[in-house]
């Protein structure tokens, strides 16, 4: 019986737990914070505390939905996942931390959006909609690639990694869409939104050409 199996948690054990807790939340918090700063710039043209905090709260659902989806995928990976590192107890936190690093394309894309809001006058920010829709596939594709590499490093086969990616996105995007759009999902207008998006992109591309 090891010393650490005694009821009292040792200082070393406490430190490991704290470290695991920090590792678990730092990248999800970073993602929410970046989105909150984006909201502040979009809505006021500056980074102001009241809107940064409010925007972070408003978009905390994004990393939260990712966490929930990844937790499901992580659970289903039991038996095929390669344990990395000596501290198995902290593996889930470390896995979350590595997994969320795959959001980097989205962080760069959000940064580009922030730069655009700093350049455009407030009355013209609506014109960003078409470029946003047109360029969104880039971080989508890149994050898929990073996630595939991540799951492969975790010990998953190619087919399993594809399954993990599809399942994670199916859960995360469904949860996020349901929260973000709410009851509006049940209206006919929701489906027409995709028609409008297509018209928006076509119009913008036509203007650019």
């Amino acid at each position: 019986m090891s010393i650490e199996s005694v009821a009292t948690v040792t200082p070393a054990g406490e430190r490991r737990q704290r470290k695991a807790a920090v590792t678990l939340v730092r990248r999800p918090l970073l993602l929410a914070f970046v989105l909150g700063c984006g909201v502040s710039l979009l809505a006021s043209g500056r980074l102001t505390l009241r809107l940064v905090v409010d925007g972070t709260l408003s978009f905390a659902f994004v990393p939260l939905c990712e966490l929930i989806a990844y937790a499901v995928v992580y659970k289903l990976q039991r038996g095929t996942r390669r344990i990395v590192g000596p501290a198995k107890a902290g593996h889930y936190a470390e896995a979350i931390d590595r997994y969320f690093a795959g959001n980097t394309p989205w962080l760069w894309w959000t940064l580009a959006l922030m730069t655009a809001t700093a350049i455009l006058p407030a009355r013209r920010l609506g014109s960003l909609l078409a470029p946003i829709l047109f360029t969104a596939p880039i971080p989508i594709a890149l994050s898929v690639r990073f996630d595939w590499q991540f799951f492969r490093r975790e010990g998953r086969s190619s087919v399993q990694a594809v399954f993990d990616i599809i399942l994670q996105r199916a859960i995360a995007w469904s949860l996020a869409t349901a929260y973000f759009l709410g009851v509006a999902l049940t209206t006919r207008d929701f489906f027409y939104t995709f028609v409008e998006m297509g018209q928006e992109i076509r119009g913008w591309v036509g203007t650019m050409l």
Binding site: V39, L42, R46, L49, L111, L125, S127, L181, A184, D189
Partner: protein
């Protein structure tokens, strides 16, 4: 990464110092109190907005608005939260509303108590809104929506003549103007705020007898509104427009393109550079 984080903190400090509520003064014209309002806004509480209901209440103060309607898609819960919060901090006036986003007509209901079934035919939607004591506004009634509003052209209380889309799509403005002419309803300016832009970017000036939600609704029913749109166009009741133009202050208050200060630009620059360094430091 530490340098990046430090720059971001400095950016937030600079931006917070630069963030000041727009100066407000009580304006009385022709015996009426003039209030600035935005009747079409969306919060982040499951209504595809970017700011919480309470955040919008605070932002309304910063944007110099006396009243807002929080009009979530097919729900009023976020508006009720916003109204509760507003009563705790002493304003602005928050009216409970919703947007009924059905094709081919979007109706904004303001001053209601419970949600209206958006699956109802538009005529019954308007009747239910009126039954609850609210007012019905045609939201961004471009030509695409005209057939949908055909049954209710004489029962709408207001139509949006200024909407942010008119700044990106110039051809949209004459459509909104024509629709307002055909209905004869009150001219309304609304931001349709989802996050990008400014709350109250398009706003309605109401000439009220009483500074309250009831007073606001009464002013709309009586069509005592003035709206400033693109290219300094002005819409609304001719007598109220005459009063507003003779005074000049409403035209100034309608403009939300206020210049960015040095602190604003510093906040933007430090923030962007800081995030670039921070994101670059994230290891894959």
């Amino acid at each position: 990464m530490r340098v990046g984080a430090g720059l971001i903190v400095m950016a937030i400090v600079a931006g917070t110092f630069a963030d000041r509520p727009r100066p407000r003064e009580e304006i009385t014209l022709g015996g009426y109190r003039v209030l600035a309002a935005d009747f079409h806004t969306h919060s982040s509480t499951w209504s595809d907005g970017s700011v919480t209901p309470w955040g919008m209440v605070i932002d309304a103060r910063y944007q110099g608005l006396d009243a807002i309607a929080i009009t979530g898609h097919r729900q009023t819960l976020d508006a009720k939260w916003g109204r509760w919060f507003s009563t705790k901090i002493g304003g602005p006036i928050v009216l409970v509303g919703e947007e009924l986003p059905e094709i081919p007509h979007h109706v904004v209901a303001v001053g209601i108590h419970t949600t209206v079934d958006s699956a109802l035919p538009v005529r019954e939607q308007i009747d239910e809104i009126h039954r609850q004591g609210g007012i019905a506004i045609a939201a961004h009634p471009g030509q695409f929506f005209w057939p949908g509003f055909a049954p209710v052209m004489t029962t709408l209380d207001g139509t949006e003549v200024c909407h942010p889309a008119t700044f990106d799509y110039p051809q949209f403005r004459p459509e909104l103007e024509e629709f307002n002419r055909r209905t004869g309803a009150a001219a309304i300016g609304s931001s349709d705020f989802h996050g990008p832009g400014r709350l109250g970017m398009c706003r309605t000036f109401l000439f009220v007898r009483e500074v309250s939600a009831a007073g606001i609704l009464e002013a709309i029913r009586a069509k005592r509104t003035v709206v400033y749109g693109r290219d300094e166009q002005v819409y609304g009741d001719p007598e109220m427009v005459r009063l507003a133009e003779a005074d000049g202050r409403l035209r100034q208050r309608a403009n939300t393109d206020y210049p960015m200060s040095v602190l604003d630009r510093l906040s933007q620059l430090l923030g962007i550079v800081g995030f670039a360094l921070l994101v670059r430091g994230v290891r894959l």
